[in-house]
C-alpha cells in the first residue's frame, strides 16, 4: 500500500481534512498517517468503506505519551558591545508542548493487506485531551480505547462506554504516562539495579529522615 496514494485518495474523498505522513526512519519503514481531530471520524469511515482499501479490521489501538520538549538553538545576534556592533551568540530555548497520541493499526481481511497505521493527537497533555472515538467504526477498538483512557488519560468522544478497564474507578492517575509517580512502597530487593536502585536509594533517604 502506497501511503502517498492513500493520502491523496482520502483528501479527494473527505473535503477539508488535513493529513500528515509521519515518517518512520527505522528499517521497518512503517510510516503512519496523522489525522486531524475534526475529520478523523469521516476519514476512518472512508478507510473502512472504500472498495479499494476496505480496512475492515482494527487489530490494535494503543497510546503514546509525548512529553514537553525543550530545544536550545544557538542564534547569532547583532549587539552593541562597547559602542561597536558585534555578532554575539545567544542560546534560545524553545519549548514545544507535549501531547498524547492514539495509534491504530488497520488491516483488511477482505483484501489481505495492511497494516495502515493512523494516529490521532490531542491538543496538549493537561486539559485538552479529547480525540474522536473510532469505536463506532471498528468495534474491536472499544476495550483498547478504554485501556488508553485508563492508562494515558485520553478522552474518546463518542465512545459508548468509556470507563477504566484495568485500574479501579476511584483511581486518579494514568500509570503509563511518562511523568507518573508511583506510590512509594519500595521494599527490600537483594540485587537492586537501574531504576530499582534509584528507588532503593530514595527509600533509604526517606528512612534516614525519620
Amino acid at each position: 500500500m502506497n501511503l502517498e496514494k492513500i493520502k491523496s485518495e482520502i483528501e479527494a474523498a473527505v473535503l477539508g481534512c488535513r493529513l500528515q505522513i509521519i515518517v518512520n526512519g527505522s528499517p521497518s519503514g512503517q510510516h503512519s498517517l496523522l489525522l486531524d481531530r475534526k475529520h478523523a471520524f469521516e476519514v476512518a469511515k472512508f478507510l473502512r468503506d472504500d472498495p479499494e482499501l476496505q480496512l475492515d479490521y482494527c487489530s490494535n489501538a494503543t497510546g503514546v505519551d509525548w512529553l514537553d520538549t525543550e530545544t536550545s538553538q544557538k542564534v547569532k545576534v547583532k549587539q552593541l558591545v562597547d559602542g561597536v556592533e558585534q555578532e554575539v551568540e545567544e542560546v534560545r530555548k524553545t519549548r514545544t508542548p507535549g501531547y498524547l497520541e492514539a495509534v491504530y493499526h488497520l488491516y483488511s481481511m477482505e483484501k489481505k493487506h495492511g497494516p495502515l497505521v493512523i494516529r490521532l493527537r490531542t491538543e496538549n497533555r493537561i486539559d485538552q485531551v479529547t480525540v474522536p472515538s473510532l469505536t463506532p467504526i471498528w468495534r474491536s477498538a472499544e476495550f483498547q480505547e478504554r485501556e488508553i483512557f485508563d492508562l494515558y488519560g485520553i478522552i474518546f468522544e463518542g465512545h459508548s462506554d468509556l470507563r477504566r478497564i484495568l485500574m479501579w474507578d476511584g483511581f486518579e492517575d494514568h500509570p503509563m504516562r511518562k511523568d507518573y509517580v508511583e506510590p512509594n512502597d519500595y521494599e527490600y530487593e537483594p540485587t537492586p539495579h537501574d531504576a530499582v536502585l534509584e528507588k532503593s536509594i530514595q527509600a533509604r533517604r526517606i528512612e534516614e529522615q525519620r
Partner: protein, 216 residues
Amino acid sequence: MDSELKMELSRQGIFTTTLEDLYNWGRKSSVWPLTFGLACCAIEMIATTMARYDLARFGAEVFRPSPRQADLMIVAGTVTKKMAPQVVRLYNQMPEPKYVIAMGACAISGGPFKQGYNVLKGIDRYIPVDVHIPGCPPRPEALMDAFITLQKKIDAQSLTGKDRPRYLNADEPSEFIVPEYGAHDLEPPKNTKLWNIIYKATPNGRATGEDEPRKD
C-alpha cells in the same frame, strides 16, 4: 504421653492415642482447598489435582466452591491491586481453622511485576501465609511438597499451651483488614501487624531488609 510407653503398649496390642493426635490427623487428612485461581499458577494447581499428580492422595481433592466450606486457600497467581480486596474478603469468610499457601513468585512477592503499578507485592501483606512456594510457575511437585509441609505443620499444632495456633487464641484476629481502593494505591498499602520491613541502610545505596519474625 511417654512415647516409649506408647510403643510398649502397642506391642501388647493396646492402641493409645491422644485427642490432639486424632484431631490433627483428621484435619490434616481432609484439607479442602477453595476453588480459586488467579493466573497461570492456577493451571499448575489444576494439573496437581488431576490424575497424573493426583492431590487426592493427600486428602485434598474436594475443591470447595464456597469459602464457608474451605480450609485452605491456595493463592495461585498474580494478585493485582484490584483483586486484593476480594482475596482478603474470601479469606475472612473462611471458617477457622484456615490455612494459606502462597503459590508462585507473584503471590509471594509480586514476582516479575514487583515494580509495576497494579500488582500487589505479595499477598502476605494482608493475610497470614503458612507456606510460600517459589517458582514461576511452580511445578505440581512443588505444590504437593508445600501441601505436605502444611500437613506437617497442622500435625505439629498443639491444642493448648502457648504455642497453640492462632485460631485457638481468642485474642488473635480471625479477620484481617480488607484494603480499599484509594486514589493512588490501596488503603492501607499493607497490614502493618502482619508485614513490616526494617531497612538497614548501607553506604552503597543497597538496603538490606529483614522480615520481622511473625508468631503464627
